[in-house]
């Protein structure tokens, strides 16, 4: 069951069998810019970057992005920077894995963001999406379509936060502008 999430929608990360999720993956996929003829190499590449910021109360404690691929505690891992995108067939081009059981006890929110490092707005990027997957069985929990997202270069996607003994996820979908996650911190702060 995939939820096509809308802004502000909240889902609890409970499995259908009642167990809580132990590992989630945020996947980001987009279509590489089409090459044009002979001078294809001059075609602008599109580089979207997925980041995850870990918060303890409203204070950022760690961040996972293309220059820091693993959170210091090892619970959040970025599988590596993709700077050109894929075929746009639905495969993830960048992924961030979160081992929810290993997240340090003081971290109570993890915010996922997407930036356009090369500056194209989401209005110009083809077939871009972001999704949250239950990593233990590959089931898609939620999906966001970025394409046609308007004249902004970043988006605060979603946050995963502790609720009770487990975790819940909230779709945020706030547009923002910025090249890397640092530019987004004010926008993120308002979403906490």
């Amino acid at each position: 069951m995939t939820v096509n999430m809308t802004k502000g929608q909240q889902i609890s990360l409970q499995k259908s069998d009642g167990g809580t999720l132990t590992a989630v993956r945020m996947g980001l996929g987009w279509q590489a810019a089409p090459r044009r003829g002979l001078f294809g190499k001059r075609t602008q590449e599109i580089d979207l970057d997925a980041s995850a910021v870990l918060f303890a109360d409203k204070e950022p404690t760690d961040v996972v992005f293309f220059q820091h691929l693993v959170s210091n505690d090892g619970s959040v891992r970025h599988t590596g920077d993709n700077r050109v995108g894929g075929a746009g067939q639905g495969g993830d081009d960048e992924s961030i894995l979160v081992d929810l059981q290993r997240v340090p006890v003081h971290v109570n929110q993890i915010v996922f963001t997407v930036n356009s490092f090369t500056g194209q707005t989401f209005g110009e990027v083809q077939n871009a999406f972001c999704r949250l997957v239950d990593e233990t069985n590959g089931q898609e929990l939620a999906r966001y379509t970025l394409t046609g997202g308007g004249p902004h270069t970043a988006q605060i996607m979603a946050k995963v936060e502790r609720s009770g003994a487990g975790w819940s996820m909230t779709a945020i979908g706030t547009p923002a502008n910025g090249r890397t996650f640092q530019d987004l911190l004010p926008a993120i702060a308002s979403a906490l």
Binding site: V70, N72, G74, P104, V105
Partner: protein
């Protein structure tokens, strides 16, 4: 017409497309075997029906057996006798049947057997039971039981196993596992420290807030606010500690199975593997140069494994304890020698003042060190010039693309140069040569092991800084100067020395010397 068979009786068959019916009082597994193929009815049930196509049996196979097996812990003697019937699949007529009685402790049996006789198939009532159950039965029929699919163990309850990492060999798997444990410990401690640090800063903030608010500055309100802040702090720290303890318990359990499985080059001197040491036929992939631990769990020590051949020289910092520094260096040299096959590693020593002769005695006495330690300025010059020339020759040969064109008298072994009391006895030229060896030696098979107190070289000023930086600093006494590559914690490095009174070092050196003699080298 049904033929009621008794044990051992046979009966001709009119049809070859058969259906077998097995009835038992309790659920059983049943199926047929032909040659090396076992076909089991997927569920265990009281009644089974399955087809046997005798025409489809390869000509090479002489017989097909019908087998039954009880679940573990049940035996045929305790249940009603099972009954097997053979029906013609076309006619539906019962051709033969057999009640298998007279069984006791057996938990598996061969009920019937179809066999070829003069171009036709016959059935025989066998009724052979096996007390050892299905495995014994299958062995008897010349079959191996298929491994049963095991349910996935819960990840949290997973028992640690030595070699549980990727790699082409056990040695590589253990190397990766040790580094994996190193990373896991670094990260779990990082999570713990981050949580505790956060709890502390939150406590400070909350106390400040309580003080700055006139309503909660004094009196019972102040106390309540303070108590609440403290309780929140304690609660978070306790949670962090619980998470840490869980991880530490897991890593400790892993260390307990990994340590005894380590080969000599990876193992501590107190490991029993050293007592069974023999010179290896292949160079080791890595060598243990010490142990690392963090203050949160000093008992959990991670072996510090360094890849071989060494990519950078080693510096045993003897500032704290000169003699101990020499002992650490000698034990390291012995360990390096022991990690290579006969003739693949050679040792040279510069001891300008002769101050390390007591520490070097095991190397000299065993004959592992072929030439006596070089002494005086002349000794320094001779050894350094020889090794510098060697590095030059190897580099020239490599650059020329002719690595085979080295002079025949050049020792092909990797060279480890121990320098004691650096820079005593070194002139400017010798210093330059040593720096050259530190930079260019590793790629030409020349490695440095310096025993030095940096203070002794202070008059050289910053000239030697690149040299110190290029060497891996190991200390003679435990010291928290080692940083991990992931989070950058300050780890306490502890050097490796044989346990007090242990004879393991002379024993290993004797083995090396004896192996050399046996090879006539």
């Amino acid at each position: 017409m049904t033929a009621e068979l008794v044990r051992g009786q046979n009966h001709p068959l009119r049809e070859t497309r058969l259906e077998i019916t097995v009835s038992a009082a309790t659920p059983v597994l049943s199926g047929s075997t032909a040659g090396e193929t076992l076909r089991l009815d997927p569920q265990d049930a009281c009644v089974h029906r399955f087809p046997v196509e005798l025409d489809a049996v390869p000509a090479s196979e002489e017989r097909v057996s019908v087998v039954l097996a009880l679940p573990p812990g049940v035996r045929f003697g305790a249940v009603a006798a099972p009954y097997v019937a053979v029906l013609g699949a076309g006619s539906g007529a019962e051709l033969a049947s057999f009640t298998i009685d007279g069984l006791g402790d057996e938990s598996a049996l061969v009920a019937l057997e179809f066999y070829r006789r003069q171009g036709a198939w016959k059935v025989r009532a066998v009724g052979q039971g096996y007390a050892g159950g299905l495995p014994e039965l299958l062995r008897d029929l010349g079959l191996k039981p298929e491994p049963e699919p095991k349910p996935d163990p819960a990840p949290s309850a997973a028992q640690p196993v030595a070699g549980d990492a990727s790699g082409w060999s056990m040695e590589e798997r253990l190397y990766n596992q040790v580094w994996g444990m190193f990373e896991d410990l670094a990260r779990t401690i990082a999570g713990y420290r981050s949580a505790v640090g956060f709890a502390e800063s939150r406590l400070d903030q909350e106390l400040d807030r309580a003080l700055s608010d006139p309503r909660t500055r004094v009196g019972p309100a102040a106390e309540a606010a303070r108590d609440q802040a403290m309780a929140r702090h304690t609660d978070l720290v306790d949670q962090a500690r619980a998470a840490l303890d869980r991880d530490l318990a897991q890593l400790t359990a892993e260390a307990e199975v990994v340590e005894p499985a380590l080969p000599p080059a990876y193992a501590g001197w107190d490991s029993p593997v050293w007592h069974g040491y023999s010179v290896p036929e292949e160079p080791s992939m890595a060598v243990r140069v010490g142990e690392l631990h963090l203050p949160e769990q000093p008992a959990l020590r991670i072996p510090m494994l360094v890849r071989l051949p060494l990519e950078r020289g080693l510096w045993v910092d003897s500032a704290q304890d000169r003699r101990r520094g020499q002992d650490v260096a000698v034990a390291l040299a012995a360990r390096l020698m022991a990690s290579y096959p006969v003739g693949a590693y050679a040792l040279q020593v510069i001891d300008p003042s002769g101050s390390a002769s007591a520490a070097l005695a095991p190397l000299v006495g065993s004959g592992v060190l072929r030439e006596p330690p070089a002494t005086g300025a002349a000794g320094v010059t001779t050894v350094l010039s020889r090794l510098t020339e060697r590095v030059d020759l190897v580099h020239m040969a490599l650059r020329a693309g002719a690595p085979d064109a080295l002079p025949p008298d050049l020792d092909p072994a990797e060279q480890l140069l121990i320098v004691n009391d650096f820079p005593y006895g070194f002139d400017d030229r010798a210093i330059t040569q040593l720096r050259y060896l530190a930079d260019e030696g590793p790629s030409a098979g020349v490695h440095l092991l310096l025993i030095a107190d940096r203070e002794d070289a202070h008059e050289y000023g910053p000239v030697l800084d690149p040299l110190w930086r290029s060497l891996l600093r190991l200390t003679a006494v435990p010291d928290d100067h080692m940083a991990d590559p992931w989070v950058g914690h300050a780890w306490t490095y502890e050097p490796l020395l044989p346990p007090h009174g242990s004879q393991v070092l002379p024993l290993v050196l004797r083995q090396i010397a004896a192996a050399r003699q046996a090879y006539g080298s």
